[in-house]
């Protein structure tokens, strides 16, 4: 076996064919995977009506060109800027009010759901049947609230309440109530059980055990998650405007339907700045906590 490799410099006849690239040992597998991939890709292309040549259709090129050409300069008349400013504030207000309402709903539900505050399970015993059922019921309610996307809530609420920010606020409140309730309960349940258990076993009230046992450990994480959700709510409330729930999104949708490129570009800039601002504020607040 040791003679399989000739010493360097001697076997001219052997190094010569090696100068050509050696065949890929895995070529069969690669080829097969490529064919399987192409075979899978075909139905996807058909189902999503993938027709890139639409881009180069003369009519659509003209329309797109005109729309994009109007992007510069962005619309900047003082009247329009005032409208955009108002819509931006409405977006922030929607997110803030929605999150506040979500908190009002999520906090009591968290208190019901979290197993840290159950007295019957102390000492490793099984929880009583009734509280276990109640917890499971509220858990299902939270799942239902958060698994319907906020946009669908908004779409439904716009039908009930009519166009305007109220539908958006309620949509955020409903979805985020589900998300906050779930995550708050998870954070509390994963905190150290020792302090709350000791307090509860010595006859402290449940709220007392929560505030003095679990909160000191979990508070910063809870607040940090809430701030992060506020940032998400701002992004979400822009998107909900597209179904008529007020704020910057609704203005953006209107301008887009009128193909007013200048207005669209102004609002996109404002939107990107708003998201970056919310990101900055949220990062600043969260860094204070840790």
């Amino acid at each position: 076996m040791q003679n399989a490799y000739p010493p360097p410099g001697t076997g001219q006849s052997i190094t010569e064919p090696l100068m050509l690239a050696p065949a890929d040992p895995a070529w069969r597998g690669r080829l097969a995977i490529t064919f399987v991939g192409l075979a899978l890709l075909w139905p996807l292309l058909v189902a999503s009506e993938f027709k890139p040549w639409i881009f180069f259709d003369v009519k659509s090129l003209q329309a797109t060109g005109r729309f994009l050409a109007a992007f510069v300069p962005p619309a900047h008349s003082s009247q329009f800027l005032l409208i955009v400013l108002e819509a931006t504030w409405q977006t922030i207000a929607m997110a803030t009010a929605g999150l506040t309402l979500a908190l009002i709903g999520a906090i009591p539900m968290t208190l019901i759901v979290t197993e840290r505050l159950s007295i019957s399970r102390l000492g490793g015993k099984k929880m009583h049947r009734l509280p276990a059922m109640l917890r499971q019921f509220v858990r299902w309610l939270l799942i239902l609230l958060r698994s319907i996307p906020e946009l669908v809530w908004a779409l439904l609420l716009v039908r009930v309440i009519g166009l305007g920010p109220t539908a958006g606020v309620l949509a955020i409140a409903l979805t985020y109530c589900g998300m906050l309730g779930k995550v708050y309960a998870e954070i509390l349940d994963s905190s150290d059980a020792h302090a709350t258990d000791t307090l509860l076993r010595n006859g402290s009230s449940r709220l007392g055990a929560l505030f003095y046992g679990a909160m000191p450990e979990a508070a910063s994480e809870l607040v940090s998650y809430t701030v992060y959700r506020w940032e998400c709510a701002i992004r979400g409330s822009v998107v909900m405007g597209f179904v008529g729930a007020g704020g910057l999104g609704q203005r953006l949708d209107e301008s887009m339907k009128m193909l007013a490129g200048g207005e669209v570009s102004t609002m996109l800039i404002v939107f990107v700045l708003l998201v970056a601002g919310a990101d900055m504020v949220s990062r600043m607040l969260r860094s204070r906590l840790t």
Binding site: L41, P43, L44, L45, A47, S48, E49, F50, K51, I54, F55, S60, A63, T64, F67, W89, Q90, I92, A93, M94, T96, A97, T100, S147, I148, P149, L151, V152, L155, L156, R159, V160, I161, G162, G164, P165, T166, V169, R235, V238, V239, F242, V243, G249, L252, D253, M256, L259, V264, L268, F271, V272, V275, A276, L285, R288
Partner: protein, 264 residues
């Protein structure tokens, strides 16, 4: 004595007080400034129309004919998300090469800010812009997912490439291997697991996003929902919402099981 045992309460910092007051005034200002339309909830007339609206959902439309259309729309949603993610992965890789500093610092910062821009605009806004270029239908939705996700994945890929160990690359380079071969045989194999897991994770997100993208007219289940809601065909709308919930729950379950199987 008990007084002496209790530690003094921690002192509030001024900045915290100012911050709390600021937050409270933000909340108050939000509630005051919004044009509330709550009378829609509390007048007798409104209660009647609302309950009528809700009762309309009651038996979801389960006719086989309609269920077939739901199935087609669900497949369309899945196809949009898969193709959008695939395009985004390819585009993201093209962006990640300059964004990981392979073509100099200037290119890196330019491409990184381009990625941030793509990422900052949500899929739905991209979709409504692209509708102007390519018209109604799932193609606009696919492209919207691709553009937004390219920004997200491009940045994640670039970070993965930057964080890879430089040693294998340097070893091949020093022995005179061409840059493309170095990338293919040293850098890419190192980062492939990360790239794959990021891509799968975004696919999961994109299925959820594709389900609702249609409300601006970009195909899939969302477009059906919007259509039936605007015709006040509540029974059909209820079925679409149920299909969305099922799809999302299924995706969540599959991804949870996969994650468990892979980390075990």
């Amino acid at each position: 004595m008990s007084q002496a045992l209790a530690p003094p309460p921690p002192r509030m910092r001024w900045s915290s007080i100012v911050l709390l007051l600021g937050l409270m005034s933000l909340v108050a200002a939000s509630f005051i400034s919004l044009p509330w339309a709550l009378e829609g909830f509390f007048t007798a007339d409104a209660v009647r129309t609302t309950s009528e609206f809700l009762r309309g959902f009651a038996p979801p439309d389960l006719a086989p004919n309609f269920l077939h259309r739901i199935g087609v729309a669900t497949l369309e949603t899945l196809a949009m998300s898969a193709l959008g993610t695939l395009l985004a992965a390819v585009l993201g890789m093209c962006l990640a090469l300059p964004a990981s500093g392979r073509f100099g610092r200037g290119a890196r910062s330019v491409v990184r800010s381009l990625q941030n821009m793509l990422r900052a605009v949500p899929e739905l806004v991209w979709a409504s812009i692209l509708l102007i270029a390519v018209g109604l239908g799932p193609f606009a939705g696919t492209l919207a997912l691709a553009v937004h996700t390219a920004g997200v994945l491009g940045r994640l890929f670039a970070d993965a490439l930057e964080n890879g160990s430089p040693l294998p690359e340097a070893a091949l380079r020093n022995n005179g291997v061409r840059p493309i071969a170095v990338f293919l045989y040293a850098t890419l194999p190192q980062t492939t697991p990360q790239i794959l897991s990021y891509t799968l994770y975004r696919w999961e997100n994109n299925i959820r996003a594709a389900a609702i993208l249609g409300v601006v007219g970009a195909g899939g289940l969302g477009q059906m929902l919007k259509y039936h809601l605007s015709l006040f065909q509540m029974e059909q709308a209820a079925t679409v919402i149920l299909a969305m919930l099922l799809l999302v729950a299924l995706v969540d379950m599959v991804s949870l099981q996969l994650r468990r199987a892979l980390t075990r």
